[in-house]
């Protein structure tokens, strides 16, 4: 048994014991400490933390979740790391992102399922009334939940696109992966009234409320969902700070949620949107290229450095990060959530 101590970004000390045979994430959860994580398979990077000292063994992981440079500087993925000595860790998240009670598990039924562009669906779930949680959908804009099929066989994490609400509504934009188990269900078998198990909310890809900088969102495909959630929340709160959305897809027919974006522009006149199509199959009036390219151009014209929130596939995250860093955005002001095909 080893002692693990973790200091959060805001200086809180969290301590737990870890067996050499368990991941640090599991060890923490055994002590009722729920650290930010998502895929739990070394694929997403949501549980990446820094290591000040101590020895570890890293189980196989994806290099998109932890680069060699990051690993060599001491970073680890909590879900893929076992302790080999006492450890001192440094987290990139605040104590507020740490849960001290189990992540809620609730039932929700499908109330809407409609196409969203050529490659995705819009899924709406309705929480069932629950003695412990009521029917409220409580989460922080930008968070995700894990959905399980009715038979419990397949689990996938998806970001919420709507805002916390008292009706118990959860809205998602989900890309249909060829041969994906959850995607096949959504395409072929999902029916209104189906009950799914929802585990969440989870995740720390949420707006840094302490910052007063502009918020720029970079979204690739269904990575738009958490950006919509945060933007809708800003609209609801009457937030008047500058904000931009760089939304990108590969082809024009993949675009979706344009009506939602239009409504946001009406609610927040300060919102500037670039809808980017990488390889338009027809004439495209807005930006032709990737959202990271659109971001690069916008950053050269901006007077102040914004906070950047990026969600999408790993290459988009990497391109956004390098564009932002090249434009002198501090690396602590870039917030990312990568999604991995499954």
């Amino acid at each position: 048994m080893f002692k693990v101590s973790l200091i959060t970004r805001d200086g809180a000390a969290i301590a737990f014991d870890a067996e050499p045979s368990e991941s640090l994430l599991d060890a923490a959860e055994r002590s009722s400490i729920y650290l930010p994580s998502s895929c739990r398979e070394g694929g997403c990077g949501a549980c990446r933390v820094g290591r000040e000292h101590g020895d570890v063994e890293l189980l196989p992981y994806s290099s998109s979740a932890l680069s060699d440079v990051e690993r060599d500087s001491g970073d680890i993925l909590l879900c893929r790391t076992q302790a080999r000595s006492d450890l001192a860790l440094r987290a990139p998240f605040d104590q507020a992102a740490v849960g001290f009670s189990p992540i809620p598990e609730r039932q929700a039924v499908i109330s809407e399922i409609t196409p969203a562009g050529s490659g995705a669906v819009r899924l709406v779930l309705q929480y069932e009334d629950d003695a412990v949680f009521g029917r409220a959908a409580q989460f922080t804009a930008g968070q995700f939940v894990e959905l399980s099929l009715p038979d419990g066989s397949v689990k996938r994490s998806y970001s919420l696109a709507n805002t916390p609400n008292w009706d118990g509504t959860l809205e998602f934009y989900i890309r249909l992966q060829p041969n994906g188990a959850f995607s096949s269900y959504l395409k072929d078998r999902a029916a209104l009234g189906d009950a799914l198990l929802v585990r969440g909310p989870q995740g720390q890809f949420t707006a840094d409320e302490a910052s007063t900088a502009e918020r720029w969102f970079v979204a690739g495909g269904t990575g738009l969902a958490p950006a919509l959630s945060m933007l809708r929340q800003m609209a609801e709160f009457g937030d008047t700070r500058g904000c931009r959305l760089f939304f990108g897809v590969n082809r024009v027919d993949e675009l979706f949620a344009l009506d939602v974006i239009e409504n946001l522009k009406n609610a927040m006149p300060q919102l500037i949107v670039a809808t980017c199509v990488w390889k338009p199959e027809t004439h495209w009036e807005d930006f032709v290229g990737t959202p990271a390219q659109a971001l690069t151009r916008a950053l050269t014209e901006a007077a102040e450095r914004p906070d950047i929130y990026v969600c999408g596939p790993p290459p988009l995250i990497a391109a956004t990060e390098s564009a932002a860093l090249a434009a002198s955005v501090d690396h602590t002001r870039i917030f990312s959530e990568r999604f991995t095909p499954a």
Binding site: R135, W166, G168, A210, F237
Partner: protein, 554 residues
């Protein structure tokens, strides 16, 4: 940032004050700096209003703006930096308006208006970064090098006393009670601060003037509360949950509580008070709502644990808010002067969304075993039994009165107050006001001559009632208040307590023991003045202080 306005300010051998990236209360540096700028802008408005008033011209909207603006800067009220950028722009517009008013009034009186410098001429930047660059001009310790720490400390005492008055005046105003005398005193004090007054005795006089004005503010609030909701009467209040949907209302604002009670009428939702709203249960017109079922939790510093466990929405109507934790951040709402970035703010007293939240959240699954406490010993109740009290004192059944009042806080030294209450002899009566009482108000103190030994007189503003009672009893005994067998054991945390303290000093009330620590802005010289001139004593050990209080009486 530099802030030392509350009791929990950072203290070290080098000195006191929160000066890092965040204060002990959780307020970040930008918000602290912007609050200083807002107050400086208000000084400018006051500077002009004071002159206009001498010419017979007033602008009540400007006065109302000042009290609201000051209220937002109290400890644990408003943490939203963006809100302050907005308020500073409003302050600027207000200043321009009162300046025009003053100029018109001057010309009408065939005088040239003074060309004012300093705060009145301050032009705030339009955006956050510009404003933050202006922060040194508005810093609370500005001029320390030239005037010295005593002057800076006294100026701070006036500024913080003003915050206290403004909070009380705001609560009174929303219930329709305003006093010209309060506005006049605020304008005067702002004008004194704005002119950079550095004479110790002039500043001390101003602090006492603030104390007198605060008495008027507390009187106005008392008139507002009792005029709107009736005279408080002894009431048994449940302090354990009842099965069903639930809303928790915290802060001090009875009007907001009333609006929530109206909005939840016949909806099967129970309403609970938290912290300083406990006294609400003793007002007849609030008590009349059957779904005002009880009081939940302890004093403000326990909220992060208690709010997390409350199964419904929570509304903060005034201080004390501390950083909302993730477990309840989505179901806590702010109202009035309170704000936290990323937490939903309720404007215009429309609490319908809180009702929706209560219906969507689970509420309490079970009744907890019933426990109650008795509150509501308002001045009318106490004076109603004055004969009994006087007889009990004369017969020796009541040896002494202790008023243990003020704020609670997290500091370990605050155990003094519960120890004091528990150790006070059985032939003494304990009067209490404020949220400091949560340390002992569920203890059993027994009765004395048919009266409960612990008499809960209400919120911190009910210091007014306590003073009226003390004055009446003194009259009945034919002595001065300071000759009564009465000791005041005051715990302070934020700026309303500073205002109440100034009131006590201004009214010549001595025998005040103050703790758990003395305000960091008071220098040793100033503390010396308070001790010599007003008999203020820092607290020591509870037992020793009880003995000392009793021997004074003997």
């Amino acid at each position: 940032m530099f802030c030392y306005q509350c009791e929990q300010t950072y203290r070290s051998e080098e000195g006191a004050g929160c000066a890092g990236t965040k204060g002990m209360c959780g307020k970040d540096a930008a918000t602290a700096d912007l609050q200083d700028i807002l107050l400086y802008a208000c000084e400018g408005i006051g500077q002009i209003l004071h002159r206009a008033r001498r010419l017979g011209a007033t602008d009540i909207e400007a006065d109302r703006f000042i009290i609201f603006a000051f209220f937002t800067t109290l400890t644990n009220v408003n943490f939203n930096s963006m809100k302050f950028v907005e308020l500073i722009q409003q302050a600027s517009l207000t200043r321009d308006r009162v300046k025009a008013l003053y100029e018109r009034a001057s010309y009408a009186a065939c005088k040239y208006p003074e060309t004012l410098s300093g705060a009145a001429a301050f032009v705030p930047a339009k955006d956050m970064s510009g404003l933050l660059a202006q922060a040194p001009e508005a810093a609370v310790r500005k001029g320390a090098e030239s005037f010295g720490e005593d002057v800076v400390g006294l100026r701070a005492l006036i500024l913080y006393g003003l915050k206290g008055i403004c909070a009380y005046a705001y609560h009174a105003r929303v219930l329709g009670q305003e006093r010209d005398a309060i506005y006049e005193a605020i304008e005067h004090a702002l004008s004194v601060l704005a002119r950079g007054e550095s004479d110790i005795s002039a500043l001390l006089d101003e602090a006492l003037a603030i104390g007198r004005a605060n008495f008027v503010a507390m009187e106005a609030l008392d008139a507002a509360n009792t005029g709107t909701f009736g005279t408080p009467a002894p009431t048994s209040v449940r302090v354990t949950p009842v099965k069903g949907k639930a809303i928790l209302v915290s802060g001090h604002d009875l009007k907001d509580l009333h609006a929530i009670l109206e909005a939840t009428k016949d909806k099967g939702i129970n309403v609970y008070t938290h912290g300083e709203l406990l006294p609400a249960h003793s007002y007849p017109k609030l008590k009349a709502y059957p779904h005002l079922v009880g009081n939940y939790g302890g004093a403000w510093q326990d909220q992060q644990k208690e709010f997390a466990e409350f199964p419904g929405p929570i509304v903060m109507t005034s201080n004390c808010l501390i950083e909302p934790q993730p477990r309840y951040r989505g179901r806590i709402f702010t109202a009035g002067p309170v704000d936290w970035a990323g937490v939903r703010h309720i404007a215009n007293e429309d609490f319908s969304i809180v009702v929706q939240a209560a219906q969507a959240l689970p509420g309490f699954a079970e009744d907890a075993p019933e426990k109650t406490i008795t509150i509501g010993f308002s001045r009318d109740t106490v004076l109603g039994v004055a004969d009994k009290v006087i007889d009990a004192v004369k017969a020796g059944a009541i040896r002494h009165f202790f008023l243990i009042g003020g704020c609670d806080g997290a500091a370990p030294g605050r155990n003094y107050y519960s120890e004091f209450a528990d150790e006070a002899p059985k032939d003494s009566v304990i009067l209490t006001i404020g949220c400091g009482k949560y340390r002992f108000n569920k203890h059993d103190f027994g009765t004395i001559g048919g009266l409960p030994r612990l008499l809960d007189m209400g919120q911190c503003s009910d210091a007014y009632s306590a003073l009226v009672v003390a004055t009446k009893l003194a009259e009945a005994f034919g002595v001065g208040v300071n000759e009564l067998p009465l000791s005041l054991i005051v715990s302070w945390f934020e700026q309303k307590a500073a205002a109440v303290l100034l009131t006590l000093l201004a009214l010549g009330v001595r025998n005040v023991r103050l703790g758990p620590t003395l305000p960091a802005f008071l220098t040793p010289t100033l503390v010396g003045v308070l001790v010599d001139k007003f008999g203020i004593q820092p607290i020591s050990e509870a037992k020793a202080d009880i003995e000392a209080s009793l021997s004074r009486a003997a």
